[in-house]
């Protein structure tokens, strides 16, 4: 039966050709192959070629400039450079980086000063925490493969649920791009699935890391369009100086680089998260495993912490924690040390030593046989001049 509808139906759309577009950018398969080859070669070669063109400012006791703390491509490059030079890579957070001191007063600098040579490379990152440090090593730390690594464990990150990223209340923490995006879940980390996915994919791309490096090193950490809004008539190419400066200055203002007692900081009654429950410790353990899997020779320094700043009960819990951390490391054959607490006036806060503190710590570390053996330091090296 034919209905009114059937009679008036136009021919099926499969044969009706629809206009392609309003431009002539329409490539064939072969042309796409050419595009893929050219773009692929350029994009793959750019980061490597860039490394040859761009210089790193020559400086003893070089450390990543504070504004480039999130320049993970630079971190990888510095790891490779240190390994090539046969240096011990010192990895850690702001304690290693030296938040309150200049680049020549940090722990690696103090070790170098006692040895009289650039044996230790400061690869600390100000503002990083164990969960992010692990991500940094996993995704941007291939340059450290097979190197000697001195890893610092700052137990401050287990001093409360918030530090440990266990709290359910969302808050903004540093380096979210480096923490696990899906598993293990971080309850205080709120991000859309789309963005988590984008982060997880981007951190597998050397090109993205390099492009991000350009933004951070030359365009105030912003992408070119955003930067050009503030510099509408500037030539973007003129911005690219092709030299990465050294992070000489401390991140903290100079008036804060004094003993904690003079800054009015009150004693700390930290609740401490037990190691078996601690997220940050779990991530630190993962960092140790990754480094060992990658053939690194590892030495871990646990602490020291500003123990006199802790109240009695908290101090006891802290000591139990350091003991358990050291036991875990030793059980896995990872050489480690838990240095004696430094004099309290050598600390600017709970965990950051001042220059004298770093010097003392360096002296004590070099005096340890296991550490000297790890760092290939001769019996007379490191002695007080």
């Amino acid at each position: 039966m034919t209905t009114k509808n059937d009679r008036q139906i136009p021919p099926p759309g499969r044969d009706a050709e629809v206009a392609y577009g309003s431009n002539d950018i329409r490539l064939s398969g072969r042309q796409w192959l050419v595009v893929a080859a050219v773009a692929g070669v350029v994009l793959a070669a750019l980061p490597t070629a860039w490394e040859r063109i761009e210089r790193i400012a020559p400086a003893d006791d070089y450390r990543v400039p504070y504004p480039l703390s999130e320049d993970y491509w630079l971190f990888d490059r510095l790891c490779r450079r240190a390994r090539r030079r046969g240096q011990v890579l010192v990895l850690g957070d702001s304690v290693v980086w030296g938040h309150y001191v200049t680049n020549d007063r940090t722990l690696p600098a103090a070790l170098n000063a006692r040895l009289g040579r650039q044996r230790f490379a400061n690869l600390g990152v100000d503002g990083i925490h164990p969960a992010a440090l692990t991500g940094l090593i996993e995704h941007y730390g291939r340059g450290a493969d097979g190197a000697k690594v001195l890893l610092h464990a700052n137990l401050l990150w287990m001093s409360s649920d918030r530090h440990d990223l266990r709290t359910r209340k969302a808050f903004a923490f540093n380096h979210p791009q480096l923490v696990p995006q899906f598993s293990p879940a971080i309850p205080c980390y709120r991000e859309t699935v789309t963005n988590r996915l984008a982060i997880a994919i981007r951190r597998r791309s050397a090109l993205h890391a390099w492009a991000s490096h350009l933004r951070r090193a030359y365009f105030d950490g912003r992408d070119l369009p955003a930067w050009s809004l503030d510099h509408p008539y500037a030539n973007p190419l003129g911005q690219i100086a092709l030299v990465i400066p050294a992070g000489r200055a401390a991140a903290a203002p100079t008036d804060q680089a004094v003993a904690w007692t003079r800054r009015g900081i009150r004693p700390l009654n930290a609740p401490w998260v037990p190691l078996d429950l601690s997220f940050q410790w779990a991530r630190f353990r993962r960092a140790v495993e990754v480094l060992r899997e990658r053939g690194c020779e590892l030495f871990v320094v646990v602490g020291p912490f500003n123990e006199p700043m802790l109240t009695g009960e908290s101090l006891a819990a802290y000591r139990r924690l350091t003991g358990a951390a050291a036991a875990w490391l030793r059980a896995r054959g990872v050489p480690c040390t838990v240095p004696r607490a430094l004099p309290s006036e050598y600390y600017a806060d709970a965990s950051h030593p001042l220059a004298d503190g770093y010097a003392t710590l360096a002296e004590r570390l070099l005096a340890e046989e296991s550490f000297a053996r790890f760092a290939d330091v001769g019996p007379t090296e490191g002695a007080m001049p």
């Binding site: 009114k4 509808n5 009679r7 139906i9 136009p10 099926p12 759309g13 499969r14 009706a16 050709e17 629809v18 206009a19 392609y20 577009g21 309003s22 431009n23 002539d24 950018i25 329409r26 490539l27 064939s28 398969g29 042309q31 796409w32 050419v34 595009v35 050219v38 773009a39 350029v42 750019l46 995006q181 899906f182 598993s183 879940a185 971080i186 980390y189 709120r190 859309t192 699935v193 789309t194 988590r196 996915l197 984008a198 994919i201 981007r202 090109l207 492009a211 350009l214 933004r215 912003r222 992408d223 070119l224 369009p225 955003a226 050009s228 809004l229 510099h231 509408p232 008539y233 973007p236």
Partner: protein, 496 residues
């Protein structure tokens, strides 16, 4: 799920191979429907309730129409379908606007009366029920350690509602008019309403173009894949490299127009003129590219509109799927140009005002529609004169239309009518200060415009030179890979 996100890339990489495998089987439509609902539900799973409801009503209406030959009953079912679509749009888009305008009027009349605010514009009960359900599910998601929470409903207009209701409405009207046959398969009809490449911002496809393609899949040639890829890359470049760039300048100026001088306001208006084109046509290019890779021919939606020589010409190049929709379902039913000049202009006026309201529930959009209606009438009169037709250079006509369209965009983009009027007055009276439009942005836009002029000129063959086309695509890919930041912006037309 936005086309320019990794989320979509992974989604498509998952959907496409399966689609290729099942496209000649009965599973084709179910797979497409599932993918489309996942795509749409990614914004908020609760939105799916609405799209399924709209689909069911229109499907049922046509089923009922098909079972009767009596015009009265057919008309009644059409009325049910259209009324349902209009009610959905009214509830979500216009309730607040109508009540707000009514209260303004009552206040201006000094009556002391007011109509209660509809608040969030979800149907009664849906909001509280939806949010309770979302919260319940979120608890489970949190316990499972899944870093995703279903957003609360009621905060935003459901994405793409204006597009899919229009697409679905066109099916019922066309069936009533006998221009399309009934689609008995519900899954296939639901796929037509929700096909993911064009679901949230068009092109608004007609049943007579898309349904046959869903019934009988056309073979996918390798050329379809490369063409689709070409469309997608161009669209991605338009959106990420151009639209988002211009947006950051426009947002700054239009966010506080009182702080800027005349040059900045003029340049921001011109920048928005291009931003909205790049944003929307970029989306359409990507949608059409994805569709093409899947064997669908979606209609051309933009055809270099800023080269139009009259406003009629402009509307045959801008958002073609919407302007033809209004032509077919509003302008012509009103009488079109068949009932004399005066009636033609009234019909034109009404159509443009309704088109303005389709874009948003605010007086700025109404005014934008009015301006276009007046401009359309004026250029129609001009085009009737031999002087304008024959003596006015093509470039002058093009620039005239471009500047008029740019001027009208002020009302479209401004956050309020007061802002729009402030911008217009400041353009005429404010001091001339440094506009600080990045040269790079200006250069990019100028290059694209120049490309379009060449494309529509006698030397178009220059653009067909293979090394040039390959170089342009390489340049676009390198730019996209290196220059833009990590923060993608949503598409402007999603809010409509």
């Amino acid at each position: 799920m936005l086309f320019h996100t990794w989320m979509f890339a992974l989604f498509f990489l998952g959907v496409y191979p399966v689609y290729l495998a099942v496209r000649r089987t009965r599973l084709r439509a179910p797979w497409l429907l599932l993918a489309s609902y996942v795509f749409y539900g990614a914004w908020n799973p609760l939105y799916l309730v609405l799209i399924v409801y709209a689909t069911l009503v229109d499907y049922t209406a046509v089923r009922c129409m098909a079972r009767t030959r009596r015009r009265f009953w057919r008309g009644l079912w059409l009325a049910v379908s259209v009324a349902n679509s209009v009610a959905l749009l009214s509830q979500f888009k216009y309730a607040g606007f109508v009540v707000g305008s009514l209260n303004d009027l009552l206040a201006a009349m000094g009556t002391g009366l007011s109509v209660p605010s509809p608040g969030v514009v979800w149907p009664v009960g849906f909001e509280s029920m939806g949010n309770a359900l979302a919260e319940h599910l979120n608890v489970y998601l949190a316990h499972l350690g899944i870093g995703y929470a279903i957003p609360r409903v009621g905060l935003l207009l459901p994405v793409g509602i204006s597009f899919y209701t229009f697409q679905s409405m066109s099916y019922t009207i066309d069936f009533f008019r006998g221009r399309v046959e009934e689609e008995p398969n519900f899954i296939r009809f639901a796929t037509f309403v929700s096909l993911f490449p064009q679901l949230v911002a068009g092109p608004i496809e007609r049943a007579r173009n898309l349904l046959p393609q869903l019934r009988t899949p056309r073979p996918i040639a390798f050329r379809d894949v490369t063409d689709g890829l070409s469309l997608f890359v161009v669209g991605l470049f338009k959106k990420v490299a151009l639209a988002d760039y211009l947006a950051s300048y426009v947002d700054g100026v239009y966010g506080a127009p009182g702080r800027f001088g005349a040059p900045a306001l003029i340049l921001a208006t011109l920048a928005f003129t291009w931003q909205i084109y790049f944003d929307f046509s970029g989306y359409t290019d990507m949608a059409r590219g994805i569709g093409r890779m899947m064997g669908f021919r979606l209609m051309l939606n933009f055809n270099n509109p800023y080269l139009a020589m009259g406003l009629g010409d402009f509307w045959s190049r801008w958002h073609i799927s919407l302007s033809t929709w209004f032509k077919d379902y509003v302008y012509i039913p009103l009488g079109g140009n068949r009932k004399g000049k005066a009636r033609t202009y009234v019909n034109m006026f009404l159509t443009m005002v309704i088109s303005g309201l389709w874009h948003g529930a605010a007086w700025t959009f109404v005014l934008w529609g009015v301006l276009h209606a007046l401009g359309r009438m004026a250029t129609r009169e001009l085009e009737a004169t031999s002087f304008y037709r024959d003596r006015v250079p093509r470039l002058v006509k093009q620039l005239g239309v471009f500047l008029f369209v740019a001027f009208a965009w002020i009302f479209f983009r401004a956050q309020s009518l007061d802002d729009a009027l402030l911008i217009v007055s400041r353009i005429a009276t404010a001091e001339w200060t440094d506009p600080a439009l990045p040269l790079l942005a200006g250069g990019l836009v100028a290059s694209i415009w120049a490309y379009q002029f060449v494309y529509e000129s006698r030397v178009r063959r220059w653009l067909q030179w293979t090394p040039l086309r390959v170089a342009l695509v390489v340049a676009m890919i390198l730019y996209l890979a290196i220059v833009p930041g990590d923060e993608g912006q949503p598409f402007i037309y999603f809010q409509f």
